[in-house]
Symmetry: C2
Subunit: 421 residues, 2 copies
């Protein structure tokens, strides 16, 4: 393991690691030990990541995702004072936890709860506020999945076609005999590890190729995402089981770019951001070839993320317009076959499935999620008419330590909002 992946032995808690308390990047100039940098990997390291995750564009190149000149959809407020005291049962614990405690436990940078489209709860911490963007990490995938699924619906992409039909460059890779649908649902069998605690995992080689991880002197590896993807080998079979691998989203992004002839940023702007009533432009990180990181590069304000969730809850509509096809949203929320999900071993997500880059709970409320490392989340509960958007900077990448104090909290919030209205 190299140092950028080392968590501190006894992690600071949420208050101790508050970036204002830590005084990251404070001073003219900040003292060297208080700088958060790209080229020493500190931006990815806890607790520096609590500053970096709200300041990605200060650290790496980005492309704008324009909201265009359209009107802002004001989210009406119906703030409630009873929600902080909401109790829920964390997974694997016999002691109830309060909602407000869960936000600290999970190193929350911000959270918004919408009920019937109105803000009932909104909190910010760390380096985030209502008007500044935060990196969405793998929540990005669900945006790209929506665009991919729309292009399939429109017939511009054939989901039964081989990936190589669109991207011949992948002919020699593990993707060669995978279909677009297998990529969309991540049922490909690929020799690529998503274990963030292993510095030799494929995800880090991928990130380094894409310019999101600094390169050692003399680096000779792939120079961009689209130079890395063809080097990925096959492992196992395609179509049998869900296996979460970020590179699937970047292959999907490649296909989207090729069939539309437009950048992902422009796709995101034209299909979603300019029609959403967003308050702010979003942005996305890019590699040295100008290619967006489809797998994890999106940055948005929390409210704009919530607006996206509300649009999904409304079957793809916002501002009286259809952004996404209701059939596409319905297909996503119905999910895939949970039997294909079991072997992935997510013990915090029993009975779930993965469809078009979304996580589907198959719970009685029909809840489904976009999820990103360090606790990024968009949770949509159709029955409860509730959307939760959350950004965070947990000291551990991955969601295994976060799910126990978030997923049952979200469900408890849904039940509470249903009962008390």
């Amino acid at each position: 393991m190299n140092t950028h992946l080392q968590p501190t032995p006894v992690p600071l808690d949420a208050m101790e690691s508050d970036p204002r308390h830590m005084a990251w990047m404070v001073g003219t100039p900040p003292p060297p030990q208080k700088r958060v940098r790209f080229d020493d990997g500190s931006m990815l390291r806890f607790p520096q990541n609590r500053w970096a995750n709200s300041n990605y564009r200060n650290l790496v190149p980005t492309k704008v995702i324009s909201r265009g000149p359209g009107p802002v959809v004001t989210l009406e407020r119906a703030d409630r004072q009873d929600l902080d005291a909401l109790q829920f049962q964390p997974i694997g614990s016999s002691t109830p936890m309060r909602w407000d405690q869960s936000l600290l436990t999970n190193y929350t940078d911000g959270i918004v709860v919408l009920h019937r489209g109105r803000i009932v709860y909104e909190r910010y911490a760390g380096a985030l506020n209502a008007d500044t963007p935060h990196i969405a990490f793998s929540v990005t995938k669900s945006f790209i999945g929506c665009i991919g699924a729309c292009l399939v619906y429109e017939g511009l992409i054939d989901e039964t076609a081989m990936v190589t039909h669109y991207i011949p460059e992948l002919a020699g890779s593990g993707f060669a005999d995978a279909t677009v649908r297998q990529v969309l649902d991540m049922t490909t069998g690929l020799d690529y590890s998503e274990d963030y605690t292993d510095s030799e995992a494929g995800i880090w080689h991928h990130a380094r190729a894409g310019g999101l991880l600094f390169r050692p002197t003399g680096y000779q590896g792939p120079d961009s995402f689209y130079e890395f993807l063809p080097t990925v080998k096959k492992q196992g079979v395609h179509g049998a089981h869900f296996s979460y691998k970020t590179i699937n989203t970047d292959v999907l992004g490649w296909i989207i770019q090729r069939v539309t002839g437009m950048s992902l940023a422009d796709n995101l702007s034209q299909r979603i951001w300019s029609l959403l009533g967003a308050e702010h432009d979003a942005y996305i990180t890019v590699d040295s070839a100008g290619t967006e990181f489809a797998g994890a590069g999106l940055n948005t304000t929390l409210r704009d993320l919530a607006r996206f969730g509300e649009m999904m809850r409304n079957g793809g509509r916002a501002l009286g317009q259809k952004l996404l096809y209701p059939e596409v949203v319905a297909d996503i929320s119905r999910g895939a076959n949970p039997a294909q999900f079991v072997s992935a071993g997510y013990h915090t997500l029993p009975g779930w499935s993965y469809r078009s880059m979304w996580w589907i709970s198959h719970n009685p409320h029909g809840a489904y999620m976009a999820r990103g490392i360090h606790g990024q989340a968009l949770y949509i509960d159709p029955l409860a008419e509730m959307v939760i958007a959350r950004y965070g900077s947990h000291h551990i990448a991955g969601n295994l330590g976060i799910d126990p104090h978030s997923i049952p909290a979200y469900h408890a919030m849904a039940l509470h909002l249903m009962q008390s209205n």
Copy 2:
């Protein structure tokens, strides 16, 4: 000289070098020879700069300069069809030139002419359009100069104080015995070259320290702007003559940050951008310490630059509010002593002076300018009630080849607008 400074032997003309024609960064991914990159210096090289100058945030880290939630000031239109045929006499030529030809000659990426606050002429070329930002290069300085001059007016900065009163870190440098006013007017005597054609010029060491020029393997030099500035030595005396050196602006930026306790981006947002009626957020490049490039890092849309010029023309007012003090604007437009300007040797700018980071013509119209390499310009003609904002990507850095086909054109435009209304 190293390669990033080499112009092509016979430069392509404006049409040939059009970035759409060159197909920079087109393709999924663009072929390697069509990429414009930070780490090989191609972003600074003509003709790649014609793409890069409209896409800086895709290449380097940046900070947002927020326009905030305030209203957009719509620039009313009064487009005129007679302006392309306007004739003027280029400096040093006996052959008249047409206005529209001058735009090609000077590799214009976009130009807006306001008369009495209304758009009478607006054109875009290259990679620029009305809604995308372009790098302002040294036009940035005039924004920072306005903020510095306002802080002097407010008494937060004493212009007669030594620079080291605010920045003790400069005690061992050539700035040690310079006053704030000498820095504001660039009458410091410093061992630092602004000759862009010399790869060993101080400006390139400065840019490299600030992360705007790639660093060779094993680079051991200063790691940020504020580590470079204390290394600058004195040459000559302070206060005698104007001598254009970008580092003065970065010292001014340092002072502004220290006395306000705010980043330059936030200063620019709070004092100017959020009050200007701007259409878009602006942004500014930052170094590894998060410090903005006060000397050249600003990126704006052309119309928003024009709005800034119009605010200056209106004595510091926009939207019925005072952004800048009328006394500050008047002091700038009055200029400094032209006798101190002579030895700088700008033969295209006879009788001009430099005041608070602005270029003052002392012509009968009282025109004054913000100027940046490769032809960036904001030209304010109070008598003609005219503002011209221009972005460009000339094949040569510096303005010696650009002034002959721009400054007389701007003055001819002013006379024409005065006569024909």
